[in-house]
């Protein structure tokens, strides 16, 4: 199975990196830039998993490790069963 997981900061949590990127873009002359939020993604490959279980399983990865629920949300996409 192949999955992609996006992990992003919750709204309201300060994102110093995104902010720095936005201001750096402006300094480079891209004045139209209003805001940037930065996140992480993971491309995960596993051995065969029963199709129905795959999504639940990847959500487990997120809850157990990939995301910190205090500051982050996540979204799981199964790319290939």
């Amino acid at each position: 199975m192949k999955a992609r997981v996006h992990v992003f900061l919750k709204e309201g949590v300060l994102d110093p990196q995104g902010k720095a990127v936005a201001s750096a873009l402006k300094t480079l002359g891209f004045e139209e830039v209003d805001s940037v939020r930065q996140g992480k993604f993971f491309d995960i490959e596993t051995g065969p998993l029963p199709a129905r279980e795959a999504e639940e399983r990847v959500k487990e990865y997120c809850k157990k490790l990939l995301a910190n629920p205090i500051i982050e949300n996540f979204r799981v996409e199964i790319m290939e069963p």
């Binding site: 309201g12 949590v13 300060l14 110093p16 990196q17 720095a20 157990k64 490790l65 990939l66 910190n68 205090i70 500051i71």
Partner: protein
């Protein structure tokens, strides 16, 4: 009283913590390997600084899931003493023993320098031998020490007198310029509800000998010895 220093792969202040408690304070101290499931009867657990798992993914995230952490959590829930320094603080937040999280420093760079800490409360086993408002000079060395929590949690921390230290100017006043990593409310260290768990970003173990800069970090250990040995 026996002290245990947990060693994760990538811990690098484990020796410093070990020395802090064994050589400088004369307490029997042992290393505890992250894969163990036994705290071997220690009274106080130190989660040392460093880069457990390279700080990959999120600082402290992978260490928080190591086998030994179940024991550390159980020890803390029983009221046992636990201190997390720097990376250890990050681990304590990740494992849920302390609320909030440590985000990237405001400067987005790693920062190693002396900071000034104001003791915010003495009603804890970790600060009982100090004075409220006392200013300590202690080094920091981290890239992710910018303390964050939601407003509700912050309210609870403040209401329950659980802020241990704040970053202040050398004169002891709050000043954004001296809150070098940009922490919420200049928070440098916090307690758990029962105050048996302390997490702090600065390194008191590096400030316990004049020859290497300062002895202001000894107060924490003196307090805790008082608490334990009566």
């Amino acid at each position: 009283m026996k002290v245990g220093v947990v060693v994760f792969p990538g811990s690098n202040c484990d020796h410093d913590a070990l020395e802090w408690s064994s050589r400088l304070l004369g307490l029997p101290t042992e290393e505890i390997w992250y894969q163990d499931r036994d705290l071997r009867g220690v009274d106080l657990v130190i989660l040392p600084g460093g880069f457990s798992y390279g700080d990959y993914l999120r600082c402290g995230a992978m260490a928080a899931r190591a086998p030994i952490m179940d024991e550390v959590v159980a020890h803390a829930r029983r009221g046992g003493l636990v201190i997390g320094i720097c990376n250890g603080f990050q681990v304590l937040c990740e494992v849920g023993l302390l609320p909030g999280a440590l985000l990237r420093n405001r400067s987005l760079t790693f920062l190693c320098q002396d900071v000034y800490l104001r003791v915010e409360t003495t009603s804890s086993p970790w600060t009982s031998a100090m004075r409220v408002g006392e200013v300590l000079r202690v080094p920091i060395a981290h890239g992710d020490g910018n303390y964050y929590c939601d407003p509700e949690t912050l309210g609870r921390l403040l209401g329950e007198d659980r802020v241990a230290f704040r970053y202040v100017s050398p004169g002891g006043t709050l000043d954004p310029e001296w809150n070098v990593n940009g922490s919420l409310e200049a928070i440098a260290g916090i307690f758990s509800e029962k105050k048996n768990v302390l997490g702090m970003m600065p390194h008191p173990e590096r400030a316990s000998e004049d020859m290497v800069g300062s002895t202001d970090g000894l107060g924490i250990f003196k307090s805790v010895m008082g608490a334990l040995c009566g």
